[in-house]
């Protein structure tokens, strides 16, 4: 069993506490048994002006900051309903998709940046929804549909088999270059998307990829039929759409070089030797 983070690393505890309590004077660190919680009032702000306030409780993981803190709104302002992204079973606020963590709260980031980033985004969106407006940043579908939607946008494909193949690689301890590429074009991984896999493995932890893969498999392809995919979610011009569609077609059928996945590294050129 791993040690409790605040005992193993008291310097980190003091640093986190000092940073958070300086920036958010209404939030306080509380030790409850073995766990550390952050309790008090969280302010949604803009240019130093407080726009809204929520009573919150954050439970820091035993292996903080490796695992995400658990967030609860305890003032009863947000209805405990799935539509508000509050789990009705335990009152937990689902501020982000764990697979997307690398983009918004990468490992090694401070607790303060979790508060000013994902937590602030979540409560800001809740305030707008309270006033009858849509979420400003959009929202993922619930459960497996949201995972499918996320990877669909990330990998620019609506093929659940391709997404599961990629997730299998991300969930594997080691990936071998002689495996077939998850994009299903028949090539060896070392000659296709090995760079993409390497990059994604650095960003998305095995545990999250494994959970996502399990959820997708449990849901089955039929339940994902009507999920908005990259094609319908992303707003792009007609010419971009044509380019994107043709690129995706070539990506799946491998008539041409696979397209670059936005935000990720390019697949290797044919004359490049893979590291795998």
């Amino acid at each position: 069993m791993t040690g409790l983070w605040h005992r193993v690393n008291p310097t980190l505890y003091q640093k986190e506490k000092s940073e958070v309590e300086t920036h958010y004077p209404d939030l306080h660190f509380v030790r409850v048994g073995d766990s550390v919680r952050l309790c008090g009032t969280f302010a949604v702000t803009y240019e130093g002006r407080v726009l809204d306030r929520y009573s919150v409780e954050l439970q820091l993981a035993r292996d903080h900051p490796k695992s995400l803190p658990l967030v609860r709104e305890v003032g009863g302002r947000i209805p405990q309903h799935e539509h508000r992204h509050i789990n009705p079973r335990d009152g937990m606020a689902c501020v982000l998709l764990p697979d997307e963590r690398w983009r918004v709260w990468p490992p090694g980031s401070s607790l303060l940046s979790f508060l000013t980033g994902p937590v602030h985004s979540f409560f800001l969106a809740q305030s707008l929804v309270d006033l009858g407006h849509p979420c400003p940043f959009g929202q993922w579908e619930h459960g497996a549909k949201g995972i499918f939607q996320y990877y669909s946008e990330l990998l620019k494909t609506s093929d659940v088999r391709v997404i599961c193949n990629f997730l299998e690689c991300l969930a594997a301890k080691k990936v071998k270059g002689h495996w077939r590429c998850p994009c299903r074009n028949g090539r060896l991984l070392r000659h296709c998307h090995s760079n993409v896999i390497t990059d994604l493995k650095e960003k998305i932890c095995r545990r999250d990829a494994t959970k996502s893969l399990e959820m997708l498999r449990a849901a089955g392809p039929l339940s994902l039929d009507k999920v908005p995919t990259a094609d319908s979610v992303i707003s792009i011009s007609a010419s971009e759409l044509q380019r994107h569609t043709s690129a995706e077609r070539s990506y799946l059928t491998c008539q041409e070089e696979p397209p670059t996945i936005q935000g990720l590294v390019s697949p290797p050129q044919s004359d490049q030797k893979s590291q795998l």
């Binding site: 803009y46 726009l51 689902c94 982000l96 918004v104 980033g117 994902p118 979540f122 006033l131």
Partner: protein, 86 residues
């Protein structure tokens, strides 16, 4: 104001006994106040309070929405909420 305009008086809150402002409220001014009060009450009767005073709450709401949207627009790494199960 409509029914008791003759009894209206004005007072300087900072100097209630040393500053006589009664000259400001002449009979003519009191009549104009009574007339304005009558028209306003009639408008309220016909169209409601908002016809006279505006949608005070909605203005506050609109301002808050505007600020929240501005805050959203400057968010560096916006996140989309999710829920693990349905």
């Amino acid at each position: 104001m409509r029914d008791n305009s003759a009894n209206l008086c004005v007072e300087d809150p900072a100097n209630p006994y040393g500053n006589d402002l009664s000259g400001l409220l002449s009979a003519d001014v009191k009549a104009q106040l009574a007339s304005a009060a009558t028209r306003t009450l009639a408008q309220i009767e016909a169209s409601g309070w908002e016809a006279v005073f505006g949608e005070a709450e909605n203005k506050e709401k609109a301002e808050k929405v505007q600020l929240l949207r501005k805050a959203a627009s400057v968010t560096v790494a916006p996140t989309r909420a999710w829920l693990p199960t349905k």
